[in-house]
């Protein structure tokens, strides 16, 4: 216990310097600004803003990026409430009751409740991250390459099970991601792999290029196709602070949501995406009058928003302690850390405690800043949302171009991004959900590395992967889980969860 407090104190001395506070603030503000734009989720936001952190020192860059992440998350909720367009999967739930509240003239209360519930969840989740960091890191240091490989397999299987739509199609996206990760010169043998003689890809594909193409450009194309009712709330936002009754109604849901989200976020394979759905279902189940849900029930905003934010935060745990990104956003963080010469994993905490604890402390500061900057700025976001899409998308496009170009000052990267925009659009047209592809892409490289280490012993075969009891049980568990997901009965109930 005193360890944690001591470590957090160390973290706060790092995070509370004027420079890092300013970066955290800037990250939250810019993240919200971009995240508020409809159809721009956290993945696209982070990919777009990655280059502006290049000039910073590693800790500053990470603090700013996580600020951007929270900001983008929060911005997505704002859009969900005010415009009924979820920025990403996790804010879908917020549209249900949040937008109804807005239509009833309670937009301000919905936004305020979301902000307060998120802050509460963020505070709790920061403590969870701090508390689990030491034991998880100690555990991770005992893992061998075959254990890590098995963990990644399990993460990918989770991602398949939790993805929406058909299981074979989600699986195909992951496998395609792994396949794409092998493009380029093989790091170990120096052989060219699937480069088709193109020098641009001999170093492999860039993660940000894929992310921006698939989540930036393809998303724009999708939005252009549905000139949807962008039903920006007219009329007033109303007061922001929830009344005493509102607070009383939302306290328990927010707490339950926080617990659910904190737990699900730790799971490998994007458990966080499930958190708001799970919280909403739970609140609806235990409500005295379930019919209020979907008609502006404040519990339907408080619970899922808390779950969402808690999950967003605890999903840092697998990344920081095991070095395994659980979802596409964390995969982007891996990319950002690598640029600064950091390899995510258990060694970060022991070798760079200041960076590690500074980041955790800044998570809490970031949450506090979101609360402080967002409530007064709601008016600004509303005005931003009223900008017509015909002007908004060329602007988003230009930011994306500048962002991609700035990664390596290479125009070729911009062209590659356009190519991936086309690929992403094709995938959407064929009914694929592309998020698992990104995860597969990042984990693909890590998996190959660990597979190589695991099998470098003399006489090793694929069966050697089962040598360690942990690895063997994880692999068997993954196989069972995958089988269950394919079975129709489970598939049906899974659909029910997502429908609700």
């Amino acid at each position: 216990m005193f360890d944690i407090l001591g470590n957090l104190a160390l973290g706060f001395t790092v995070a509370l310097t004027v420079k890092n506070l300013a970066l955290c603030f800037a990250g939250c503000l810019i993240g919200t600004l971009i995240g508020v734009l409809p159809g721009v989720g956290p993945i696209a936001t982070i990919a777009m803003l990655l280059p502006i952190t290049y000039g910073l020192d590693p800790i500053g860059a990470l603090i700013m990026l996580s600020g951007i992440y929270y900001g983008a998350q929060y911005g997505g909720s704002t859009t969900a409430i005010l415009v009924n367009i979820p920025g990403e999967a996790t804010s879908v739930v917020t549209t249900l009751d949040g937008h109804q509240m807005a239509k009833q003239g309670r937009a301000g209360v919905a936004l305020g409740t979301a902000a307060i519930a998120s802050f509460f969840a963020g505070t709790f989740a920061t403590l969870v991250v701090a508390g689990l960091a030491l034991p998880m890191t100690a555990l991770a240091l005992k893992f061998g390459p075959s254990d890590r490989f098995a963990l990644m397999v399990m993460g990918l299987v989770f991602a398949v099970v939790l993805a929406r739509g058909s299981v074979p199609k989600a699986l195909a996206m992951i496998v395609l991601g792994i396949l794409l990760s092998t493009i380029g010169t093989d790091g170990e043998t120096g052989e060219d792999r699937m480069t088709f003689g193109l020098p641009q890809i001999s170093d492999g594909l860039d993660f940000a290029v894929i992310a921006m193409g698939i989540f930036g450009f393809a998303e724009i194309l999708k939005n252009l196709e549905n000139p949807e009712a962008r039903d920006v709330v007219r009329g007033t936002i109303g007061r922001l602070l929830p009344s005493r009754d509102d607070l009383r109604a939302s306290a328990a849901p927010a707490m339950r949501g926080t617990l659910l989200g904190s737990f699900l976020g730790i799971l490998p394979g994007n458990g966080a995406v499930l958190a708001p759905f799970a919280s909403y279902t739970l609140e609806k189940r235990i409500a005295k009058d379930p019919s209020r849900f979907g008609n502006g029930a404040i519990e339907g905003v408080a619970g899922p928003e808390a779950a969402n934010n808690a999950g967003a935060q605890t999903s840092f745990i697998p990344l920081l302690t095991l070095g395994i990104p659980p979802n596409a956003v964390m995969a982007l963080m891996v990319g950002a850390m690598t640029i600064h010469g950091l390899i995510p994993g258990p060694q970060i905490m022991s070798k760079q405690p200041q960076l590690f604890w500074g980041l955790i402390a800044s998570m809490w500061i970031g949450n506090l800043m979101l609360l402080i900057i967002n409530l007064p700025l709601v008016g600004l976001w509303v005005r931003l949302l009223k900008v017509p899409y015909r002007l908004m998308f060329p602007a988003i496009l230009l930011f994306c171009c500048i962002g991609i170009y700035s990664i390596g000052n290479k125009p070729e990267d911009v062209m590659m991004t356009a190519a991936f925009g086309f690929i992403g659009y094709s995938l959407l047209k064929l009914g694929f959900e592309p998020a698992p592809l990104l995860l597969g892409f990042v984990l693909g490289r890590l998996m190959e590395e660990n597979l190589r280490q695991a099998m470098s012993k003399a006489g090793a075969t694929l069966l050697s992967l089962f040598d360690s009891p942990l690895a063997a049980s994880l692999l068997v568990f993954s196989a069972v889980l995958l089988l269950l997901a394919v079975l129709p009965a489970v598939r049906k109930s899974r659909e029910e969860v997502f429908q609700e």
Binding site: A172, L397, V414, F422
Partner: protein, 162 residues
Amino acid sequence: MVKSPQDFAAGLVLIAIASIAWISTLGLPFSQVGGVGSGMLPKSTALILGALGLLIVVGSLMSEGPPLERWSVREAAMVLGGVLAFALTIRGTPLPALGFNIPALGLAVAGPLAVLIAAQADRSTRLIEVVIFAVVLTALCIILFRFLLGLPIPVFPPLLGY
């Protein structure tokens, strides 16, 4: 007969990708002395991808599913064309095959160009509005990215030299 055209096409695309990957990695060894060869991961993922493609194709023959969606060719061409125009002009591109080179024009040209081309994807675009918007937006981007954030992005090389 095909009951789910979208899945049918999706499966075929996966099989095609898998085949290309498989053929282009034919020469890579699956295993080598000391363990995993450079071909193991690409080949095994290509194989799994092909199998999944087959599964999806078979499934599309058995159960009903969504039809093929219409592609918005014009929108895609304009949006991606705008991006391409940005890529070609920001630092210039030699085009020996066509006998000329695109000079390095910097953000001052690449920015408005990308915005103006991409904006054509939306039929409700108004010309004067978008021209003004493109110029103002580019100016803001130059101030923000080049001067405030200090990114080494060329502004207008023909006149400014950077």
